[in-house]
Structures are given as structure tokens and as C-alpha cells.
Symmetry: C2
Subunit: 137 residues, 2 copies
């Protein structure tokens, strides 16, 4: 109780302007990659398709996403309207992350990735559960 919080945020401002032209591109490909064009975002979406929903479940993905990256990506994905978080229980509050309609429509992209990967990268597999979920959409 007596512990002083003293949270010093001290966020370092970027000195270099972030005004990179990618975001101003009219190309839908460039714009989509701005949102989900990194190594982890689509894996999080994949896991949500697979039925995971809590922070802990997502953290235990096979690829072992670092916890700070997961937290940051969840914020970004929520800000982008791809996922929503809502408490599934009070006391203690536990949030569940779920795909929005916009997010669930990423299924086409995941399917295309799976199709290409299975054809061109040896040794890849798809889990039955995931296939079923992706088929449905």
C-alpha cells in the first residue's frame, strides 16, 4: 500500500518525422501492409481464428511472441478495428480478444498465405481445427 507508484512514462518522442509516404499511398496493398504487414499481427489473427482469446493463450502460441510485442500489437489491432477486447468476467477482470467483422474478413488473406505456403514451403502443415474455421468464413 505504501509503495509509491511514481510511474515515469517518459516516452521518447521521435525526432525524425514519421511522415513516410507509405501511408499516403493510394495502393490498397501498401495500406494493408501498414496495418498487418509485420511478422506477428497476422499470427495473432490466426490464433484468434483458432479459438484463442485471452492474453495468456495468445502468449503461448507456438512461435512464442514476446509479451511486450503482443501487448503492443493488440493495441494496434484494436485501434485498427480488427479486434475488440471485452471482459468475460469481473473480479478479477479478464479480457477476451475477439475478431471484429473487419478482422474476420482477413480470413481470405490467411487462406491465400496457407495455400501458397503449403505449395511452396516444404514441411508446413495446417491444423484440422484451423482449416475448419477458415473454411467456414
Amino acid at each position: 500500500m505504501q509503495v509509491t507508484p511514481a510511474k515515469r512514462k517518459q516516452r521518447r518522442k521521435s525526432k525524425r518525422a514519421k511522415a513516410h509516404s507509405l501511408s499516403r499511398s493510394l495502393c490498397p496493398i501498401a495500406n494493408v501492409l501498414e496495418v498487418v504487414g509485420d511478422k506477428w499481427s497476422l499470427l495473432i489473427v490466426r490464433d484468434l481464428f483458432r479459438g484463442k482469446s485471452t492474453y495468456g493463450e495468445l502468449l503461448n502460441s507456438f512461435e512464442k511472441i514476446p509479451t511486450n510485442i503482443l501487448a503492443e500489437r493488440l493495441k494496434r489491432l484494436e485501434a485498427a478495428g480488427i479486434i475488440t477486447s471485452s471482459p468475460y468476467q469481473e473480479r478479477p477482470v479478464r479480457n477476451a480478444y475477439t475478431l471484429t467483422k473487419k478482422g474476420s474478413e482477413l480470413a481470405d488473406i490467411l487462406q491465400a498465405l496457407v495455400k501458397w505456403g503449403k505449395r511452396h514451403i516444404p514441411g508446413t502443415k495446417i491444423y484440422a481445427n484451423q482449416r475448419r474455421v477458415l473454411r467456414k468464413l
Copy 2:
């Protein structure tokens, strides 16, 4: 004249082992993202679909890819069997980059990205030329 001696500067080795588990994943999504899951690779592929082929043409993409990034990505994409480079003229040697069959089959992924982007990101467009090329495949 003789072929110039390869001036191989010593590549800085990473001190931290790069043995991240992503590459060991069986999931095709994770594996595909290992290869093209960054901000630039698929834009290069997009431009090759659009008909660009030389280094200079790719450098002048709307999104202004930095030149060292372009050079590095071209090497990676070639190593991954997604593109090939071949001289289209001698004296001076000029190389043209083209998609392999494996690379051209990324069209499905690009199409899925375009479809989702047009639906969910306002202000995006697709160029007639690109649409035609992507339709063909």
C-alpha cells in the same frame, strides 16, 4: 577486362543467435511471413506484377523504398526463389528482375490484400493495369 574481384567486406555477425522459433514452426502462415512478411517485399512483388523490372524502376515506386533495403530484399527474394535476375543487356550489364512461377503465384495473396484493403481502408485505389495483370493469374 577481368571480372572485378569480389570486394567482400566482412559481414557483421549477429552476436545474439537468430535461432528464433518462428522458422521452426510447422504453420504455413508463419513460414510465409518469414519470407514476405515485411513492409516491402510484397510491394516489390506488386511492382514486378505491374511490369517493372529494373532496379531503377523498382526504386521509383510510389512508396519510395530506400535503396539499401531494395538491394537487400531483392537478394532475399532471389534466394527464396521468388524472383530471378538476368541481364537483359551487356555493356553495360543491366539486370532485369522477374517473378518466377513460385513468385507469380503470390498473386492470390496480393489479390486478397487488395480485396480486403478496398473494402476496409477508405481512399485506396487499384490501378487498371494492375487489376488486369492480377486477374490474368
